[in-house]
Symmetry: C2
Subunit: 358 residues, 2 copies
DNA sequence: CTGAAAGCGCTTACAG
DNA sequence: CTGAAAGCGCTTACAG
């Protein structure tokens, strides 16, 4: 048996009779069907349904009721053609793994679903040609705006969005000059982490982090130094567990001072650090407190002990980016510039202090 | 300074002159602009651009050239209104974490971008009301089809998609009866894993896996037993690293037989198992081979040693789901039923054999 | 209070 | 070979 889902299957059985009486018309239910069923013109039907124009309340209600009964839903394409609003936006990302994009997407969707806006997700990796294709497809479909996001604050997407005829908002990726950009406040996030270590009485702090050529790495390191002391050590490396291991090996190999508080540049490094400490018989958090960055659940919740870490609040970032692109699409004014959104410290058990009720 | 991105900014400076000469019209470039610039009617312009109708090749080329010069792009909303095709599909998922959805999405997008199709991503969690809102928004926007996906093969999404007037394809989630469903062939995947262990000479196998109420857990366990032997032990538990630890503790605590090959139900369990073995001084893969399931890079590539595991080829699954929904949207016939797509064994170092060139 | 007409941007018979 | 007309489904002045 094969099924063919062409035009034919568009008609559900319950609709069939109605449509047959209204001319046997095939296809979706339109405003003509509503008007016919109510015995009025389509103009009046439109006004009744949209609460525009003047008309008796009872007529309005009756039309709405009939529309609901026959399952009428306005065609957004037709509406969009008139109103120049498609209630659709595009999310462009080069973060194929989705580590950062998913929370941002969730926030955007969360903020915009109430406004009837749907989101095209376009993953472009690092391919400029692919990016161009996706951007053009979105523009052809008359998106009301585009949000650009990525995996790195200090890198641009491989496509120029600065001269499009729709508003563009940047979230967690570097924006064009004069644009609206949302990003996490990494300095503030780092301060939260280091101040937490300090509050727990840690004095011999170390920062084990990623590659120095990341802007956010430098920003977090600077903030760390400002709180912990300018002379406190920073170990730059890569974003991996194994670097966390190696850093611990380095710190405990020489005859130097042993840290009692380690602020890690991300959760993966922190996991490596914690594992390495355990393997050396060093207790976390009794002997050393470890704090991470990212609050990547899959990593942070699985470390032993679970990781205290900094959450960049990417969902909130997405929410704000969504509302902003909507505002621009509606012609409202928005101040350009970079908005830094505060991070939040998520206290688990890797630093201690989790039972202090602080 | 504030910027207002209303209608006004739609006109780029370079377009301004042109549009002023064609009537000072504001807004996007339409086929009227092309026709005016070429000194022909819009009907002819349309036919020239779409390679329809009959006309001199040189006219056709000239129109196309002019269209390209003035940056004309057809309005997909207007086209969709006529053609009943929006070149848009919806992807509905309850997998908020994106573990399974992202690769599926990547495959869909990959397959459909060449056909000019864009994808609405709708994350609905487990909320039926939210799901309903998203489905209605997609239908209003005249999606050509919907792909439903999720995080579990044996669970339905919290919304009924069986009587929509657009085609629906299910991918990695349970479909309605009589629908087209794509899923991974978990039995075959499990066989790959266990046969690999057998090929490496492992005889005392154990299967450490997730909750027995998962269909895929039972299916993998059955396949394991068929290859390893019906009497071989299966330890059901949860999908976590800590369960992997606990399972090792259990296996090595009694006086029973010590396994030399452990097939894990997912990569997180495998990671727990490997960590626990290392902590006991048992060498992987020399003493015990460990194989996982999922090929979740972030986990599989970070275990020590890196994990040999089964990849469900979710991207390919997405690709096929995408092409299928497209076929249905075009009215082509598709055989309903469940299609199982083969898994692939990814050989890293946790089993040995990685240098055998097998 | 209600409806005919125009029009959003496009495509497609149809008549020249 | 080319263009006027109709129409996709809707909204919005405008005239009654």
């Amino acid at each position: 048996m094969t099924i063919s889902l062409g035009k034919a299957f568009l008609i559900a059985s319950s609709m069939e009779e109605l449509l047959d009486t209204t001319g046997g018309k095939r296809g979706r239910i339109t405003i003509h069907d509503v008007a016919a069923a109510a015995g009025i013109s389509i103009s009046t039907a439109s006004k009744a349904l949209n609460d525009t124009g003047r008309m008796g309340l009872e007529t309005r209600e009756r039309v709405k009721r009939i529309a609901a009964e026959i399952g009428y839903r306005p065609n957004a394409l037709a509406r969009g053609l008139l109103s120049k609003r498609s209630f659709t936006i595009g999310l462009l990302t080069n973060d194929t793994y989705g580590r950062f994009t998913l929370p941002v997407m969730a926030g955007i969707s969360d903020a915009l679903v109430d406004h009837g806006v749907s989101v095209f997700l376009c993953a472009i990796e690092e391919d400029p040609a692919l990016a161009q294709i996706h951007v053009e497809a979105m523009l052809d479909k008359q998106v009301d705006g585009i949000i650009a996001t990525g995996k790195r604050l200090d890198r641009r997407l491989p496509v120029d969005l600065s001269n499009l005829n729709v508003p563009v908002v940047y979230a967690f990726t570097e924006g064009a000059p004069g644009s609206v950009t949302f990003r996490s406040d990494d300095a503030q996030g780092a301060r939260l982490a280091v101040e937490w270590l300090a509050k727990l009485g840690r004095k011999r702090m170390v920062h084990v982090t990623g590659p120095e050529n990341f802007f956010s790495v430098r920003e977090r390191a600077d903030a760390y130094r400002r709180v912990a002391g300018e002379e406190r050590p920073v170990l730059f490396g890569v974003w991996s567990e194994s670097w966390g291991h190696e850093a611990v090996a380095r710190l405990w190999s020489g005859s130097g001072e042993r840290p009692d508080g380690i602020f890690c540049g991300n959760d993966q490094i922190a996991r490596g650090v914690i594992d390495a400490l355990r393997e050396r018989g060093i207790r976390v958090p009794q002997d050393v407190s470890v704090v991470g960055f990212d609050n990547w659940e899959i990593v942070a919740a699985q470390t032993r002990p679970p990781l205290t870490t900094v959450d960049m609040e990417l969902k909130e970032l997405g929410r704000q980016a969504g509302l902003t692109v909507l505002a621009l699409a509606e012609g409202r004014s928005v101040e350009p510039g970079i908005r830094k959104l505060p991070c939040r410290l998520v206290v688990r058990q890797s630093c201690g202090g989790d039972t202090l009720g602080i």
